[in-house]
């Protein structure tokens, strides 16, 4: 059974159809790239999957469970995690607290009230910060981090809950070449523990790390397949040569 499956997902904003009958499948342990020209519906599809937008039509299943009507909170509890395109860290809180906030999200109320999970979560917070090269910045306010560091912090927060499916909307936006390379290595290592869907404009980055690509164009799935298949696809070449 596929980990994520959307069937006939359509999202209309008034007369404008941002997504039309999108069928999209992600298998467990897969690093799945979602590409397409600007306005092709990549971010809208991610938002529909994460619950930020409700589809006008169609169904979304996660691990066999229908989550089409589920709230973002219910989807997160079902194992879905999202990194937004625009960074949305908590600028006034320290980097440490940003990650702890994400990590303790599934703790019961009584545990939060009596701070029962704090000591247990501390080690995990520091591990995640070390993994994302943010250990030295643990005490800094998240708002003073560079854009690239904020992107990493976002990924750290998205990873904190050990999701089954991680949705990353433009994870390398604003990063240097070195930071992009490190992010790519991290994502490849991560797919051992969860499936990842990446929306990204940097095709070289996508080519290097992804197992499977889905190409969207004008709200429809144009092509889906391995990186090699997509590179050979005449339809995709036409779209990219004429519109990108």
């Amino acid at each position: 059974m596929a980990l994520l499956e959307t069937r006939g997902v359509t999202k209309a904003f008034g007369q404008l159809a941002a997504l039309s009958e999108v069928d999209f499948v992600v298998e467990g342990g897969q690093l799945h790239g979602l590409i397409g020209p600007n306005g092709s519906g990549k971010s809208t599809l991610l938002k529909c999957i994460a619950g930020a937008e409700l589809p006008t039509r169609g169904r979304i299943h996660l691990g066999g469970r229908d989550i089409t009507e589920a709230t973002p909170s219910e989807r997160a509890r079902a194992g879905l995690s999202l990194k937004f395109q625009v960074t949305s860290v908590f600028p006034e809180l320290s980097v440490y607290h940003n990650v702890l906030l994400a990590l303790q999200a599934h703790s019961p109320l009584a545990a939060l009230t009596f701070s029962r999970t704090r000591d247990g979560l501390h080690r995990r917070v520091m591990e995640i910060l070390a993994e994302l090269r943010l250990r030295d910045r643990a005490a800094a306010a998240a708002g003073v981090l560079s854009h690239g560091e904020q992107q990493w912090l976002e990924i750290a927060m998205a990873l904190a809950s050990r999701p089954r499916l991680l949705l990353l909307d433009e994870p390398t936006g604003g990063m240097s070449l070195e930071e992009r390379r490190a992010t790519g290595q991290l994502l490849v290592a991560l797919k051992r523990s969860c499936a990842i869907v990446v929306v990204e404009h940097d095709l070289d980055f996508i080519r290097e790390i992804c197992d499977v690509l889905t190409v969207l164009d004008q709200g429809r799935v144009l092509e889906s397949g391995t990186v090699e298949q997509i590179q050979r696809s005449r339809k995709v070449q036409e779209v990219y040569l004429t519109r990108v």
């Binding site: 908590f90 320290s94 702890l100 999200a105 703790s107 999970t117 501390h122 643990a138």
Partner: protein, 341 residues
């Protein structure tokens, strides 16, 4: 470190205020002790507002609803059932505030979509206004005159009358509630509330049940307001519709803004400062004191938007300290964080 010095200053302020309140009655005439007791009870009410707005980001213009409803409940218990035991009436007041606040939260906060700040502010304001009108028009509740001549609260064979005994009862309850609130906002729950206050939508994507969290905090704050209402009713000896209404609800907001929200101690300072200034001004300038008080409030809110507490603890120092779980509880963790700083 900056954070430590801010924490130390606040702790020093908390202890200084406690020490002052502990010895204050020794140097005051009885009518002034009664006045300060009223201030302590209103400080409880201000704490309830600070908890919902300063920490959970819920703009409640209806805290008087829970205060007044609890006041009327204990007044009715005393008048109609002859129940005045402190061990019954105060828990009853807490229960009424808790349940009523949870009912209001169910309507205003627990929908599928997160409500806007304005919706909650107007919803709580409407609740407060409606309760005031209801009390004014209901003969059983005494109409415009309210319920007078409530018998004194009792503890076994003893009566707890206004004066020293009531003063120390109110002080003990204020300190107890303050410590509970302090514990809550510095726990992991406090960190979650800080997240809700800063970016509610993001918290839902982490998996937090944001609306439930807000409803629980709102109910706890309602319980505190209820406790204050029960104490106030027996202290004053009567209840009247203004205890439920919009004017008192707004006054509570002003107390907290004047002292500084999101710090707990700021709310207490706000009540103390406004009530003392009102007391002094009304004595010295009986005709124009409300205008002077209004100008003072306006001045503080315009020039010190962080409230009086910002004189002692600037806003930038509050960031990362109040409402947050402090990372340095265990030695290993403290070293990790301090080493990184």
């Amino acid at each position: 470190m900056l954070k430590t010095s801010a924490a130390t200053r606040v702790a020093a302020l908390e202890l200084a205020l406690l020490a002052v309140f502990a010895v204050l009655p020794a140097g005051l005439q009885e009518f002034r002790v009664i006045f300060v007791t009223r201030v302590l009870i209103l400080a409880l009410l201000a704490l309830s507002f600070d908890l919902v707005w300063g920490f959970a980001g819920i703009m409640s213009f209806g805290q008087a609803l829970f205060f007044g409803a609890a006041g009327y409940t204990v007044a009715l218990l005393a008048r109609d059932a002859g129940i005045t035991s402190v061990f019954v009436v105060l828990p009853a007041a807490v229960g009424v505030g808790l349940v009523l606040a949870f009912v209001v939260a169910s309507f205003l906060l627990l929908g599928r979509n997160p409500p806007s700040l304005t919706f909650v502010a107007l919803g709580t304001l409407t609740g407060s206004y409606a309760a005031d009108r209801l009390a004014r028009g209901w003969y059983y509740l005494g109409g415009q005159n309210g319920i007078p001549s409530i018998p004194p609260m009792t503890a076994g064979p003893w009566q707890i009358t206004e004066g020293l005994t009531y003063y120390y009862l109110a002080l003990a309850l204020l300190v107890g509630v303050y410590l509970v609130c302090r514990f809550l906002v510095r726990s992991q729950l406090g960190l979650a509330l800080a997240g809700v206050r800063i970016n509610e939508a993001r918290m839902a994507f982490f998996g937090y049940r944001v609306q439930s969290l807000k409803a629980i905090v709102f109910a706890v704050a309602g319980a505190i307001a209820g406790l204050a209402g029960g104490l106030y009713a027996f202290h004053e000896g009567f209840v009247w519709p203004n205890m439920l209404g919009v004017i008192l609800s707004t006054q509570i907001v002003l107390y907290a803004l004047f002292g500084g929200v999101g710090t707990l101690i700021g709310a207490v300072i706000g009540v103390v400062a406004i009530e003392i200034v009102s007391f002094v001004l009304s004595d010295a300038y009986p005709t124009i004191w409300p205008i002077m008080l209004g100008l003072l409030l306006l001045g503080v809110i315009l020039f010190r938007p962080g409230g009086l507490i910002s004189v002692l603890v600037p806003r930038r120092e509050r960031i990362g300290l109040f409402g947050l779980a402090r990372p340095g509880r265990s030695q290993a963790r403290a070293e990790a964080i301090d080493g990184a700083a």
